[in-house]
Amino acid sequence: MSGARNSTLTRRSFLKTTGAAAAGLACAGAVGAALSGEVLAPAQANAAGEEKTIYTLHQFMCQGNCSIKCTVRDGYLAKIEPSDAVAPKYQRCCMKGLSEIEHVYSPLRLQTPLKRVGERGEGKFERISWDEAMDIVGSELKKAWDAYGKESVYISASNEPRFGMLASILGAGTGVEPGIDRGIGNGVDPAIGGGGFASCTNETRDWVNANTIILSGINFLETSLMRSDDFFDAKRAGAEIIVVDPHFSTTASKASQWIPLKPGTDGALYLAMISHIIDNQWYDEEYMIAHTSMPFLVDAVSGQLLRSGKAPEVDPATGEAVEPADYLVWDTATNRAVIYDDPAAVPTLEGTYEVDGAKVATVFEQLKASQREYTTAWAAEKCDIDQEVIEKLAEKYATGGPAYLCFGYGGSDKFSNPDIQGHAMVILTALTGQIGKPGAALGHPGGGQGYGASLAAWPLPVDMVPAEIPVRADRFADTDAGVHVIISLGNTLQQYYANMNKTRTWLDSLDFILHVGMYDEDSVAFADVVLPVCSKFEDTVEHSIVRGGYNHIQLSQKCIDPLFEALPDYDVMYRIAQSVGLESVLPADAEELARFSIDNAEDPLVAGITFDALVKNNNTMPLAGIEEPRIGFADLQFPTPTGRMEIYYEPQHHSGQALPQWEENNEVFDGNPLMDKYPLQLAQTRTRFFVHSHFRGAAWLAQFYTGRIELNPQAMEERGLADGDIVEVFNDRGTFSCPVYGNNAIRPTSARIYEAAWSKDCTSGNPQNVTNDHVNERDADLITGAPIPFNDTLVEVRKAQGE
């Protein structure tokens, strides 16, 4: 055994790999260069110096929610480790967290306020003082207010920096960026009353209770690294973990089974599973009758659900009519249509009937009819997998005991129609009742999706509310939303918009762009004024952030003074409010806000947790009642008008999607003539190394990974490419170039790059130059609108000219 293993482990392979890892260091800093002479105050290392230990929290965008313990020596952040103030299960800190001791001091940090001196996008700036910067910000905001009104300002917010109240204070628009992460949820959530994120209904600590866990397009062991133990504990307890992914991801390599399907065809797989479960009658009739809309009657012609005609009540709070939820079912006891919750009724799942002269059928009967084409043989061809694989998967899911159906953000959700996948998945759940009990759930499990508590919001004057912007931010370039000023918090201008060349033209047309961030990311170059914020380790008060993290409440604590001229989030938000004379509505400092938000929280989960108690408990306390993993919908009551899983989407009847119908992707589909020119799908996947754009500037992570595109060695050979060659990646929308490497893990018809690469990670341009900004025609039908189909992108790759 050990002999066989060691055969690949020659001494030479050890050596070679070392060389490759050491050669990876990269990242030169444009802002560092622009600000030549600005260097870190040099530290005199002194091992015998003064040390203090600080407990705080790490990172918002990553869903790890780690509590950490920091050692500060002579004013420097010298060591980070998992906090020992939480139970062992929660004592976690990944390599990104550890790399902060370097990342915080990175030469790529924005150091001072900057004013643009070159063209937009050119990245030429001069340093200005905070006072100068805030004068410009104040006068630009007022200018826009006078010319076009407050709704002409839009705050494009990523998770960091965090300016929770700024949109309300300025009366600006914000938060219309649902083009990301909600693609599959668009199909799942209408059935179970969610808002589009489709968070997993159970927590991953419950995975040990499952017999089957299907992970579709989610590289869980990288993107939810901190919950990896739940994966392995479940597997050891006997769960079969099946990963559906076009690439051999880390998670695929650790799974019981990997299903390598064609990119963007996940919907076909789940449609076929529905058919196979129906054909074999593996569905749970009792569950369907009691807890879903499957027995409801539909008019076969109009597609409308039959109703008793109950007069809708009016919600006193909103003044709007409440959905009367007066659907009819066929009562086999009396042979007539009765209201679904009639206690005397014996509803049937099947059959067609006549009601008031109209031909009607149950939703389930309609489903059976609409599924006819979606055989396992059909899906096998669509997905390029064996029919038997699909049939076994369906059987396991439906008959193999408790099962999870999970999906992710960053894979199949970033195509033009992932709602169909979501709709099929929620129907699979409704057919089998795999929800609301230990070991059975549906949704996105990222970060573990444990208990979360809500905190109190600072009371602002009632007239201070964000502006309603009727257009989604990713459509600003196409549809005039009346926005003339952008406040970009973090690298949003690159991350939230596909087709960068179009974005550039739109950005050029704006009156004013303010960028607030930590690093010299792509968005910076477009700004007129740049404001540097601190990392969460630097602060001007002791405690500034309270967070309802994974099963805990966490409080931040200052480790070091602000570096350079950067200021913490709250202080910058305060200054922006002050620039237009509106700061008086804010608490005096972030600590007052933190104290307020926890001490006034009404959530029963935070019972007994106060600001002072948190400080006493090293800044973290478990929520009340988290001993058992969270099981969502345990009472099988869903927040829908009927309290059931409402899987028939009546408003989508006009587009044929009341029940899910296969629809080809926009670019990535067999037979698309564009493939002759651009035969490769560009997959922008997530990775353990970054949280979107964040950590791109960490030299300690660049030890392991530097910007590159990866192709299957077969695709490399077809194009005459060798490892390390600089290649152009291009299509009709644009081009970027970067080094290329071969990797067997990549599907031969795809090119993979980790998402949100900065231009600095590329030789020229950046991946958003080529990404697809198509809008699905069914946009208006989807609860959060059509997702931005970043991964529904075709490209060709060739050796860069002159290389």
């Binding site: 055994m1 001494r11 392979s13 790999t17 030299a699 392991f704 067997n744």
Partner: protein, 205 residues
Amino acid sequence: MTKLGIAIDLERCVGCHTCANACKMQNNVPTGMLWNRVLTEGCECIDGAVGTYPNLTRTFLPLACQHCENPACLRACPTGATYKDDMGRVEIDYDKCIGCRMCMAACPYNARSFNWEEPVRDVDFNYGDAAVPARAKGVAEKCTLCKERTDRGEEPMCVKCCPTQARIFGDLDDPNSEVSRVVVNRGAHVLLEEQGTRPQVYYFD
């Protein structure tokens, strides 16, 4: 006697490199060096795979000094700078190291790094544990099994930080320690057994 060692669960190892950075931080390891690396077996690149799509396998291999019972490095070291201590750890006395790099040539695991220049760091201060001694230009260095931590009765930093608990640390001389039990019960093996170095780092899956 005490014989400290580590057993690594290759099934649970997800190749995250947390152990690599935990070690780098704790031990103030300079730029361009890692005492603890995570290789992808049979691949030149990190996160590669062995085979032909879609018939693929991947095994991550975290690799640092194996704290061999019969260390090739120690036999090669002409000054006695490399020594086996009473806890079973292989350590380097930096003051005695003359920079001849015989140990590096001898080690079959490529576990050692050398300070060709005055060490530089990405930041301008010494990070990690204040008790870890500084190394100068011209000395060899490697995983110490977190000597300063294990002296205090703590586990090595890579073990503490591993998010999947893939790394089990303890006394291989104590048959009741978790690490001893895992080595016996889970059929653990060592790397390059034929070299006769008798590593105290085991791997199992």
